[in-house]
């Protein structure tokens, strides 16, 4: 085995701390049972952020409309549960499939143009879906949201309880499964081509990588994962509202990813934990104005530099290696 192969493989191996981390995550609903619902939310948001990382961190496409897929998966799963059958796993599959189809349709919109154009088009898709969900009120309940979504027991045995422990484990399991899958994807040759496209699109094209096709595939994949996150959200809360599609959700998930670090799957997970805990703490102090502090945090984050924020000792040394 030669050196490049070795170095590529090194990245894809599981580190010893990773199983420990996951064990801790799964133990968390038992250790702090009163916080099971926030653990559930963290797992969902983490999954959402990881899916954005696929397109932002690994291919460098700035998207402001990722909530489109989140909401699509969410509404599909909720409607399926309400109108067809309440089994959560089938509903999850329906959510994923719907979002994937939408992602495939939208993947044509991101291939051309500059950052600004892509930003606008992704934002526009999200807004169109928001508008649709608002206007098709006979189906989605409009601005009041889709109520009366009742979930059947998971695998026929585990009921969703009020404390939210089943929900937390359910979301964590889906997160783990998709995480392992995506981890495999980004360390495969396919993942390597994505990074090549991100780093230098022209050169990637020159060495024979079909850039547009790869972008379409990864965008579709990311859409499917975001749909899964949305489906989990509506299934565990039993409620779907326009809020799923809203702009601030896309902005939040971008922020989460940037806090945790892009181009590194655990970045989404780490960012979700930090963001949700911060949001929880801030909104209990200032329920109405917590967005101010989030905004301030963003501004400081960018001004200080994303790499430097996690290395406080470099803040006051000008220049240097960073």
């Amino acid at each position: 085995m030669n050196a490049p192969q070795q170095s590529l493989l090194n990245d894809s191996r599981f580190r010893p701390w990773e199983p420990v981390l996951w064990l801790l995550a799964f133990a968390a609903p038992l250790l702090v049972p009163s916080h099971a619902s926030i653990i559930n939310e963290i797992a969902i948001v983490a999954l959402f952020a990881v899916s954005l990382d696929l397109i932002l961190g690994y291919t460098g496409i700035v998207s402001l409309g990722h909530a489109a897929f989140f909401g699509m998966g969410g509404y599909a799963a909720a409607l399926f549960a309400k109108l067809v059958m309440p089994d959560p796993l089938v509903g999850l599959a329906v959510g994923i499939v719907t979002a994937t189809l939408l992602g495939a349709a939208c993947s044509f919109t991101i291939m051309r143009g500059s950052d600004l154009t892509r930003l606008m088009v992704t934002l526009g898709v999200g807004l169109i879906l928001l508008e649709l969900a608002n206007k098709l009120d006979w189906l989605t309940g409009g601005a009041d949201g889709l109520q009366g979504v009742v979930m059947g027991p998971l695998l026929g045995t585990f009921e969703f309880d009020l404390a939210g422990r089943t929900a937390a484990w359910y979301s964590l399991t889906v997160l783990l499964a998709l995480f392992v899958l995506l981890r495999r994807v980004v360390h495969s040759p396919f993942g390597a081509t994505l990074k090549a496209i991100r780093d230098n699109r022209l050169r990637a094209m020159a060495i024979g990588i079909p850039v547009n096709r790869k972008l379409a595939v990864v965008y579709t994949l990311a859409a499917g994962v975001a749909g899964a996150a949305g489906a989990l959200m509506t299934q565990t809360t039993g409620f779907a509202s326009l809020d799923l599609f809203e702009f601030h959700r896309s902005a939040d998930v971008m922020l989460i990813l940037v806090i945790g670090g892009t181009g590194w799957l655990y970045g989404g997970v780490a960012g979700a934990i930090v963001f949700k805990l911060m949001q929880d703490a801030l909104s209990s102090i200032t329920p109405q104005y917590w967005t101010f502090w989030i905004g301030l945090f963003l501004v400081v984050l960018v001004l200080v530099g994303r790499e430097r924020l996690i290395r406080p000792w470099t803040w006051f040394s000008r220049g240097g290696k960073s």
């Binding site: 932002l56 700035v62 600004l116 154009t117 606008m120 169109i128 922020l255 905004g295 984050l301 960018v302």
Partner: protein, 290 residues
């Protein structure tokens, strides 16, 4: 029908004034500034507060709104924006979203979240009607006023950019900063002035538009999309591009909301996506421009 066209034009003109500053910062300085709506909101709130608390007449408020937002823009450019000109687009997006969040929350905190109402002077409240039947043209005086102000501003801007010393300095700084600096142009000053004027225009637009668009703390988020559409569709290399895009958008939006109210803002977004897929650099781009 003509009335709808007229209202659409007034709306488009308003959007143009709101967005033209953004076209300059985004197109010329290559900075994705999502916080542009916050300056517009600043202008709107300056007007409302001056009129309600101090009884300043409406016409005097407009220049004050311009100056206030321009000062705010100038200060922020010098302190916060300048270090970010050469950062990646993602950083600029995050930074300006952060500013928007802060602006929304602070206005909410200081002024309250209720919608603000502007008392127009009597002579702007009327309405003139021409013709009759299907071709009747009803012109609200306030809309006429908006169109007049915006047209004057457009001509003025075009003149400044195309025929004055400052305009040529700006274009030189944009095309090649280093060479411009070498020729003795104070690039930082030029950019600072441009940014301040752009923010001031946004503020003026906010003051003018408060009556038409409504003014509450969520203003920057609600209308951010419209500004961005104007700029993205119009292309950023000239003043005429955004102007035509704003008119198109205004007319499409007003007509769509009138004829097919069920669809709402749907038409505008679909139109934008279609145009952007067709011409990713915007509709009106000169060949060889940046």
């Amino acid at each position: 029908m003509l009335t709808i066209l007229f209202d659409g034009i007034a709306y488009g003109m308003l959007l143009f004034i709101l967005a033209v500053g953004l076209a300059v910062t985004m197109g010329l300085m290559n900075f994705i500034n999502l916080a542009h709506g916050a300056f517009a909101m600043a202008g709107g709130y300056i007007t409302v507060l001056l009129m309600q608390r101090f009884g300043v007449p409406f016409l005097l408020c407009l220049p004050l709104a311009f100056i206030g937002s321009a000062l705010l823009g100038g200060v922020l450019e010098r302190t916060l924006y300048r270090p970010l000109y050469h950062k990646p687009h993602l950083d600029q997006v995050l930074f300006s979203i952060g500013l928007v969040f802060m602006a929304v929350a602070s206005v909410d905190y200081f002024v309250g979240s209720t919608q603000q109402i502007i008392q127009l002077p009597e002579w702007l409240k009327g309405r003139t009607e021409l013709g009759s039947g299907a071709w009747m043209l009803g012109m609200g005086h306030y809309r006429l006023f908006i169109i007049a102000v915006c047209a004057a501003l457009t001509v003025g801007l075009q003149y400044v950019l195309g025929y004055t010393r400052f305009g040529s300095r700006l274009r030189a700084s944009v095309d090649d900063q280093r060479v411009a600096a070498g020729l003795g142009i104070n690039v930082n000053m030029v950019f600072l002035t441009t940014f301040a004027v752009g923010s001031g225009l946004a503020g003026l637009g906010g003051a003018l538009g408060a009556e038409v668009l409504g003014l509450d703390p969520s203003f920057p988020l609600k209308f951010m999309v419209y500004f961005l559409i104007v700029v993205a569709v119009g292309g950023t290399s000239s003043i005429t591009g955004p102007l035509l895009a704003a008119l198109l958008l205004g007319i499409a939006d007003v007509a769509g909301k009138y004829y097919i109210p069920k669809l709402g803002a749907f038409i505008v977004y679909s139109l934008m996506i279609a145009i952007l897929i067709w011409r990713p650099q915007g509709l009106f781009v000169r060949k060889g421009g940046k």
